[in-house]
């Protein structure tokens, strides 16, 4: 029997606060994480819209810019906060902490996470982290200008290096440190839950690929965020305790010699940050891979092609992710021999990535596909993953990277693979599990419109950026007027900004659909998709303890679609074998 380690038999709470605010129910916490990410993604998107407007109409008067016209420092503050909020509060939070929290315990047949109270703490610590970071906008000097990577010495020296580098940057570091703690707590909870709380018969070989993806992501988070925490502690000491871990001697900032710091190395930060930063890319994308595999199989009505290869490829990607951080530092002056090794390891990731892609195509091959919105977004995920991955092969070459590194090519690459592909994974998961979470279907017509405009729109935004980069267009520049060789590219920027406006408008439609369908959507029923995994065996939305005390027993793998001789084209994992009528 599956029992709780902590909490024992708990009863549904009755008060509003215990039920919806400080809840220990993994489903409530999952939705809380989702709403936190939803708030963050619209905040981050607004910041990017302001940047896009400024790039095309530099003299435009904008709200939120106190002096009327945006200054370069304000632009960089937008770059920093857009990146930070999107990477940590959206891409790390929604697919893993949001959907993972809600779905993982149900899919393995558990009543809750292994440590429900710790789970609640993880969410509220994440919430505090977001609040601390957003506060950076409102302190003297505003938000930091050093980018989401916060390279020293810019990030370490304080107010003297620019507005936002005082209190704003300190709040940023503290917020990130807090986020690390929350992620570590969440990760160890996910791993323990997956290993210890599986229902009877739920072997590792029968886990849905979503669970595998969340498990591997949690392992990556456990290992990577510990290192980022150390880096944040050191940066905070440099900023507040006068240490010099990341600050070399002999610096002069705006005619002021920095005499009180010496002996440190900015490269040390880059090593520590990217040892975290590269696995972070996979922390963002792996849950999307799990969701894509799951959704593709369900709507192809076929088992996932090469289940074991899929698991192996995800493990390989996770492992290799820790060996390639140096490819972010090719232009930092590293030895060509190190660069060669990092380059080789990086391109090796292409192998498991290709295995996954071909297995997705193999799953689709010869299938009678049901084109639901969730399926469309899963297909979009595969498309974006391939497009974004291919430009990664360019950047993995040290000699090409020397040219491309500080250009829009990199912006295009990581937005496609880490940003938009992961977001498509989140959208796919949203359309797929919304009925389970809220009991009603999202509107499919609005959903399809949302998909097609978004899908075409993001390609219109990010494909031209590759060409901007190849033309030598530098990234992170606030104002491009007066730079002659960039003048012909203005039309491209104009096109990108208009595309971005269309895509962002379309997300408002999604938001409308999201809240409208809660009240007016079609009633979902227990299993609207004729799917096989355990979350579809229980009511939508599920009761407080998921299985109402009837812990399921699992008899087969997660993707038994189209089994010859079976009376239906799907066999749920918990169905007792005699009733399934298998011929073998």
């Amino acid at each position: 029997m599956v029992t709780h380690e902590s909490g024992g038999h708990h009863h549904p709470p009755t008060g509003f606060i215990r039920k919806y605010i400080f809840s220990v129910d993994h489903k409530v916490i999952g939705i809380q994480y989702y709403f936190l990410a939803l708030f963050s993604v619209f905040l981050g998107m607004t910041l990017s819209l302001l940047m896009r407007i400024h790039l095309v109409w530099p003299a435009a008067k904008l709200p939120f810019t106190p002096g009327g016209v945006m200054t370069p420092e304000q632009y960089l503050a937008l770059v920093t906060m857009h990146g930070t909020i999107m990477v940590f509060m959206v891409l790390t939070t929604a697919p893993q902490s949001g959907f993972g929290n809600y779905i993982l315990p149900i899919q393995i047949g558990a009543e809750d996470m292994a440590f429900p109270v710790l789970n609640m703490l993880s969410f509220w610590v994440t919430f505090v982290s977001l609040m601390v970071m957003v506060t950076a906008f409102f302190v003297t000097g505003g938000a930091p200008i050093s980018g989401w990577t916060a390279y020293p010495t810019l990030s370490a020296l304080g107010q003297i290096t620019g507005p936002g580098q005082g209190a704003g940057q300190t709040l940023w570091v503290i917020g990130l440190g807090i986020f690390c703690v929350a992620s570590l707590l969440g990760a160890l909870n996910f791993i323990t839950t997956t290993i210890d709380l599986r229902a009877k018969g739920m072997t590792f070989g029968r886990l849905p690929l979503t669970v595998w993806a969340w498990l591997i992501t949690a392992v990556l988070a456990l290992l990577a965020f510990g290192v980022l925490l150390a880096a944040c502690i050191l940066l905070l000491l440099d900023r507040t305790a006068g240490t010099s871990f990341f600050i070399p001697g002999g610096l002069v900032v705006t005619d002021t010699p920095i005499t009180w710091h010496k002996g440190g190395s900015p490269l040390l930060w880059q090593h520590l940050f990217w040892f975290f930063g590269h696995p972070e890319v996979y922390i963002a994308i792996l849950p999307g891979m799990g969701v894509a595999s799951h959704v593709l199989s369900t709507f192809s009505r076929k088992p996932v092609f090469g289940y074991r290869a899929m698991v192996g490829a995800m493990c390989a990607i996770g492992f290799l992710g820790f060996c390639v951080w140096g490819h972010h530092m090719f232009i930092s002056g590293m030895s060509p021999y190190s660069a060669f090794a990092f380059s080789l390891m990086t391109m090796t990731i292409g192998v498991p990535s290709a295995i996954k892609t071909f297995n997705w195509l193999g799953t689709l091959w010869g299938a009678q596909i049901r084109f639901t919105t969730a399926m469309l977004f899963a297909l979009g995920f595969v498309s974006l993953f391939v497009t974004g991955g291919l430009s990664g092969l360019f950047l993995a070459q040290p000699s090409l990277d020397l040219y491309l590194h500080d250009t829009y090519f990199v912006v295009a690459h990581f937005h496609l693979i880490m940003g938009v592909a992961a977001i498509f994974g989140i959208f796919s998961a949203t359309y797929f599990w919304y009925p389970k979470m809220f009991g009603r279907m999202l509107n499919e017509s609005i959903g399809r419109l949302h998909f097609w405009i978004t899908f075409v729109g993001v390609y219109c935004i990010f494909m031209p950026m590759h060409f901007l980069g190849l033309a030598g267009h530098p990234r992170r520049y606030a104002d491009l007027t007066g730079v002659n060789f960039l003048a012909p590219l203005h039309a491209v920027h104009y096109f990108i900004t208009i595309s971005a406006m269309v895509v962002i408008t379309m997300q408002l439609l999604f938001l409308f659909n999201f809240f409208y369908s809660m009240k007016a959507g079609k009633i979902a029923g227990d299993n609207p998709y004729e799917a096989t995994t355990l979350e579809w065996a229980i009511p939508s939305p599920p009761p407080f303890d998921n299985f109402a005390g009837q812990v399921p027993v699992v008899y087969r793998g997660a993707y038994e679609f189209g089994v010859p001789g079976a009376h239906a084209d799907f066999i749920p994992q918990h169905l007792v074998p005699a009733k399934a009528g298998r011929s073998h």
Binding site: M1, V2, E5, S6, I108, G109, A114, F115, L118, L184, A187, L188, I191, T192, T193, I195, D196, L197, R198, A199, K200, G201, M202, T203, F204, G205, R206, L222, L223, F225, G226, V227, L229, A230, A231, I233, L234, L237, A241, G242, T243, S244, F245, H261, K262, G263, G264, S265, L268, H271, L272, F275, Y307, V553, V554, Y555, R556, G557, P577, H584
Partner: protein, 212 residues
């Protein structure tokens, strides 16, 4: 692909679900995972320390055999001894001997407190000699930064450990916790001890003033 094995065979395997692999309870597994992540944090800090030390050829070696090394060796012995009392506490808890368990847990906590007190006097001595996180008498400020940063974080872990031990001792006496919980506390305490076994040689022994 799994239908070839019978369900009974699968369910009897520790990894098949319904049972905990190797009978490790969730709290113990959770603590092990915490230790893994905290190991990474300390590894990163010690790597950073090694990095800046190599980058500064004039790295100072200020610790005299007496008092600094003598004192830090005493601290090491105290911490090791507290690990021993912890082991005895876990063993007593396994025998359901509540009185002895609580006694050994409190001994362990006292060892932790002694360690923190000795370390604080050591800090005060160094501060009097002119070592701070931002400066040293030798003019290599990173020595002070690394010393106070890393030992400070370790001391924070010991302090949290002492509180944890005290909570566990009194909770165990009131029967709020069981022998497994005591063992999990032991895992944390041994980990903190083990971290010191890296900090001590890297920070202290490698910076001994041999009069050269």
């Amino acid at each position: 692909m799994h239908e070839t094995k019978s369900d009974e065979a699968l369910v009897s395997s520790p990894w098949s679900g319904g049972t905990r692999p190797f009978s490790v309870n969730s709290k113990k597994l959770g603590m092990w995972l915490f230790i893994v992540s905290d190991t990474l944090t300390f590894s990163a800090l010690l790597l950073a320390y090694s990095y800046v030390r190599l980058a500064n050829p004039d790295w100072p070696r200020p610790f005299e055999i007496y008092p600094a090394i003598a004192k830090s060796t005493t601290m090491t012995i105290i911490l090791l001894a507290s690990s021993l009392t912890m082991v005895l506490g876990v063993a007593a808890a396994r025998r359901n001997d509540r009185v002895k368990t609580v006694r050994w847990l409190l001994f362990t906590a006292v060892g932790g407190i002694l360690f923190v007190v000795l370390h604080t006097t050591e800090w005060i001595n160094l501060i009097h000699e002119g070592y701070t996180p931002w400066s040293t008498p030798q003019g290599v400020p990173l020595f002070g930064a690394a010393f106070f940063g890393i030992t400070g974080l370790h001391m924070l872990h010991v302090t949290i450990g002492v509180i944890y031990l005290a909570v566990m001792a009194f909770g165990y006496q009131k029967q709020n916790f069981d022998a497994d919980d005591v063992e999990v506390t032991g895992l944390y305490w041994h980990f903190v001890d083990l971290v010191w076994m890296f900090v001590f040689p890297m920070i202290y022994l490698m910076s001994v003033n041999l009069g050269g």
